[in-house]
């Protein structure tokens, strides 16, 4: 039995109610409290991670920048697909991101999903960030499949209002404000913790 089940348990497709899942190769988030909760010990590789945030400027990028700073190298950039605003170079450099390996794709909502899928599928990017506002489940599923085929990390940044929508993302984290907390809504390969994680210290 275990010969069949072991691979499934290892790659997180199957998980048990009790006990800790084996640590897999994941990208550390840079926040110990969050790493401790996520089954792989960080953002899952070759999958989508979803950040749900209520409004601009509540720390959605501060959550991602420590991880992004460790990515990006020649011929394998971090790609922002249709970001809502322009990244302020001074702040990104201060966060440790190497701007040489940051690429921005400027496009409209419809083409953005196509561009994000191309980037994820191509395996030419270290990570892909996109901001789908009204993506349907089929589109999200395509993105998840593209991330798996291309072995690329994808981050979806979406409004909290979409939390009720079904999602294929491997990890879903909601940002709550006042007090600032992170709530893990879903994490493939483990039970989401019942308690929210304090985000206030990180926001300083």
């Amino acid at each position: 039995m275990s010969a069949i089940l072991q691979p499934l348990i290892e790659n997180g497709r199957l998980w048990r109610g009790q006990g800790t899942a084996p640590r897999r190769d994941a990208l550390p988030t840079g926040f110990d409290a969050l790493d401790g909760v996520l089954p792989g010990g960080g953002w899952p590789q070759a999958a989508l991670s979803e950040i749900l945030f209520p409004a601009d400027g509540v720390g959605e990028m501060r959550l991602l920048l420590p991880a992004l700073a460790t990515l990006g190298r020649e011929g394998c950039p971090v790609v922002l697909v249709a970001p809502p605003y322009l990244p302020f170079p001074a702040a990104w450099i201060a966060a440790g991101v190497d701007l040489r390996f940051l690429q921005i794709v400027q496009t409209g909502e419809h083409d953005a999903m196509w561009a994000a899928e191309q980037c994820l599928r191509s395996a030419a990017c270290a990570a892909v960030l996109c901001w789908p506002r009204q993506a349907d489940t089929a589109t999200l599923r395509r993105l998840q499949l593209a991330a798996e085929t291309g072995q690329t990390i994808g981050f979806l940044l979406r409004p909290t209002a979409t939390a009720a929508q079904a999602s294929m993302a491997a990890v879903r984290i909601g940002i709550e404000t006042g007090p600032a907390r992170l709530r893990v809504l879903k994490c493939r390969g483990g039970n989401p913790p019942a308690q929210a994680i304090a985000f206030a210290a990180l926001a300083a």
């Binding site: 409004a55 322009l86 001074a90 201060a94 561009a115 291309g150």
Partner: protein, 479 residues
């Protein structure tokens, strides 16, 4: 020296056939107009219906009314010959295209690179078959001998002079490249094989057949040399395809487009270059052609990549009239540097390079759609950044200049045009920070910047003009 001769027995016909997707349909070429139009070539399917060289077009149409007849253009054949010379330049630096329907290549110097004549010949044949040209190939120590052998014995290769005389000797006089009247008189004298000519005393033979024919025989044997004009590849690629029918459907343009780009790629490989910029012109019966200008960030020559880009651009273009011809022009042909790949590349199978991905995105989203970002040393937030469009292959230059550490923190997101801060201000976390700069370039500003927490716990970077109590203007988010 070792000369390879490639002869193209039906160059004009191949030139037309390879541009059509229905190559097996009966097709004839004709020259002349009206009732004087005569066939000058017919493909196998047309010959099957009884059409042949020299027939009048009227007769051909009577025999088989559905035959496709295309006017034979000597200029088109010349262009095709030029293209083949450019292609052959990849295999030898000495390419001669002086003789009609024939290319001569000095190949001995290329043996080491291509692994000897059998391998080189196989490569030539494979490439020509892919390009869609009927061909005959022979090799000999002298150019004229190679030409005669290519006409008589396809695939024949002779290395040394003794074997060459034997091989030439067995050829009938009629296949030796001598002119018709000379061949006739020789045959009347009972001389049927070249061997018989070679043993005759040279001076007496010369009196009978003339100096010109004697010179030709000397050149065959290598006793006289012929100064050949060598081909110089042009710095411009300009090729045109005439469509067999007028069409405004994108689908039916893809086949000629792919053919054109494959030729382009072969040409680029021949000069070890890439294309950075090229223009596709879709010609209409009336009016100016619809042009698509394609610019790439780095030189490329992979036919599939070029096709994918051109196709994406074509699909977004509206053709206002049916297209009757297609033309590709490129005069910017920089040297090509292949992308570096790891020997132990562990990336997935379908992986493409970032360069290829970027071109694909730009083809669909527009030339300016993909860019990098760089810090610009300026205190004004609107001027503190620059887009960076250059190829990421060149980014090995120094890392960005560091931010002056004394500055207060800057927001992650920047609004390039400030807007009115609509959210209710809960409290001011930091500020004011006065930014006053730009008196020298007309974009003068005096602003007091604040870090603000709004009622919904967002963190904003907003300003007020100095000495003003007006509303806050939003400049960025501490996201």
């Amino acid at each position: 020296m070792q000369w390879a001769c490639i002869s193209f027995p039906q160059l004009a016909l191949d030139d037309v056939l390879r541009q059509r997707s229905d190559g097996a349909a009966p097709l004839v070429l004709f020259e002349g107009t009206g009732s004087r139009a005569r066939l000058c070539a017919a493909n196998t399917a047309a010959q099957h219906h009884g059409l042949h060289f020299g027939q009048s077009l009227t007769a051909a149409r009577a025999l088989y009314p559905r035959v496709h007849a295309v006017e034979h253009g000597p200029a088109a054949v010349e262009r095709c010959h030029d293209f083949l010379a450019a292609w052959a330049y990849r295999y030898s630096s000495q390419v001669c295209r002086t003789f009609p329907q024939t290319l001569l290549l000095e190949v001995r110097a290329s043996f080491r690179l291509f692994g000897g004549w059998p391998a080189l010949q196989a490569e030539l044949r494979r490439e020509l078959a892919a390009l869609g040209f009927e061909h005959r190939i022979a090799a000999a120590p002298h150019p004229h001998a190679a030409m005669v052998l290519a006409g008589a014995r396809d695939g024949c290769a002779i290395e040394d002079a003794a074997h060459l005389l034997d091989a030439l000797g067995t050829l009938p006089v009629g296949r030796s490249g001598l002119d018709v009247s000379c061949v006739e008189s020789l045959q009347r004298m009972g001389l049927r094989r070249l061997r018989q000519l070679f043993v005759l005393p040279r001076a007496e033979l010369g009196k009978r057949i003339g100096a010109q024919a004697l010179l030709h025989l000397d050149r065959l044997r290598g006793a006289a040399t012929h100064a050949l004009d060598f081909y110089q590849p042009p710095d411009v690629f300009d090729q045109r395809v005439e469509l067999p029918f007028n069409t405004s459907s994108h689908e039916s343009l893809l086949f000629p487009l792919r053919r054109l780009l494959r030729d382009f790629s072969a040409f680029l490989a021949g000069r070890d270059g890439g294309a950075q910029r090229f223009t596709l012109a879709f010609e209409h019966e009336r009016g100016a052609p619809t042009e698509i200008r394609i610019g790439l960030l780095a030189p490329e020559r992979d036919p599939e990549l070029l096709f994918a880009i051109a196709r994406a651009r074509l699909e977004r273009t509206r053709l206002r009239e049916p297209v009757c011809g297609l033309r590709l022009v490129s005069d910017e042909l920089p040297p090509f540097t292949p992308a570096r790949r790891d020997l132990f590349d562990t990336r997935p199978q379908q992986a493409v390079t970032w360069e290829a991905l970027r071109e694909r995105l730009r083809a669909r989203l527009g030339e300016q759609a993909v860019h990098g970002l760089a810090l610009h040393p300026d205190h004004r937030p609107e001027c503190a950044w620059r887009t960076r469009a250059e190829s990421s292959r060149d980014t090995s230059t120094s890392r960005d200049a560091n931010v002056p550490p004394s500055l207060p923190p800057r927001p992650t997101w920047l609004l390039t045009r400030p807007i009115l801060l609509r959210e209710r201000v809960e409290r001011i976390l930091a500020g004011p920070e006065r930014i006053e700069s730009g008196w020298w370039d007309g974009a003068d500003m005096r602003r007091d910047y604040y870090v603000i927490e709004t009622a919904s716990h967002q963190r904003a970077w907003a300003f007020r003009p100095a000495d003003d109590d007006g509303p806050f203007m939003l400049q960025g988010w501490f996201a």
